[in-house]
């Protein structure tokens, strides 16, 4: 099975883990699957926050059923509270 490289920039409460996370997933993985991998990867109280967060590229938020067939540079956006 082909593996693809996922790079996720971190924001807000995820900053404690650094600027970004890198890991591999099988090609054809969805946003939901990537979130699950990420939650297992960080293994802390923030792991549940992953599921209240969204993944986005530099243009838009991606729905949970979005499929990745190639390497991707993403970011994870936890619940927002600007102003």
């Amino acid at each position: 099975m082909t593996e693809i490289a996922i790079h996720i920039k971190l924001f807000g409460a995820f900053r404690k883990f650094g600027d970004a996370l890198d890991f591999s997933v099988p090609a054809g993985s969805t946003v939901a699957a990537i979130k699950k991998v990420m939650s297992e990867f960080i293994k802390s109280k923030e792991s549940t926050l992953v599921f209240d967060s969204v993944l986005a590229n530099d243009n838009a938020v991606l729905p949970d059923n979005y499929i990745f067939e190639a390497d991707a540079k993403l970011c994870i956006l936890p619940p927002v509270c600007g102003g």
Binding site: F11, G12, S53, A60, V61, P63, V80, C81, G82, G83
Partner: protein
């Protein structure tokens, strides 16, 4: 062409005069300004400052969308929206929204609309700092709702396109399989 919307994320201290200068217009008799500032308490805890984290590109995009929505509702208004990124002490200005309009009602209403939408939709996060030197990221509004709404909207638009194209989706009607 005169620009009627300014949106930005800035690591420099925000300037109220810049906002006023941008929205000032001889045809507008009302300017409403909202200023967000760092307060010294939150839920009973003394606060010493806040760090603002922002996804710059997506934030500016969302700011633009919100401002365009406001202009669709209140035609002819001019809008300045800038959010600070970085650490601020008590009293520091985190956000400035200025709206000018011919009359006060639309200026007030549009300004309120913009700050409320920003709080729900813009990728901005606050880390509060406390007297003992500890800090905490504040909970907020999950963008999962926005993502679900976006998905539903795209699905709806897709259905409309299929309906207007009249394609059967499998080519049996001579549509070439277009959906």
């Amino acid at each position: 062409m005169i620009q009627s919307i300014h949106t930005s994320v800035s690591s420099n201290f925000l300037n109220i005069q810049d906002a006023y200068d941008f929205v000032s217009d001889p045809a507008h008799g009302a300017v409403d300004v909202f200023i967000g500032a760092v307060r010294n308490h939150h839920e009973g805890k003394p606060v010493t400052g806040i760090t603002y984290d922002i996804h710059d590109e997506l934030a500016v995009k969302e700011f633009q969308e919100i401002c365009l929505e406001a202009q669709n509702i209140w035609e002819g208004i001019k809008i300045y929206l800038s959010h600070y990124k970085g650490q601020l002490n008590i009293g520091g200005i985190s956000v400035i929204i200025a709206v000018s309009a011919a009359h006060r009602a639309e200026a007030f209403e549009a300004c309120r609309y913009i700050i409320e939408e920003l709080k729900k939709r813009a990728p901005v996060w606050k880390q509060e700092h406390y007297e003992l030197g500890n800090s905490e990221w504040l909970p907020g509004h999950s963008l999962m709702v926005n993502a679900a709404q976006l998905e539903a909207r795209l699905l709806q638009e897709d259905k409309k396109t299929q309906k207007s194209s009249g394609g059967c989706g499998n080519g049996t009607c001579g549509c070439g399989g277009r959906k």
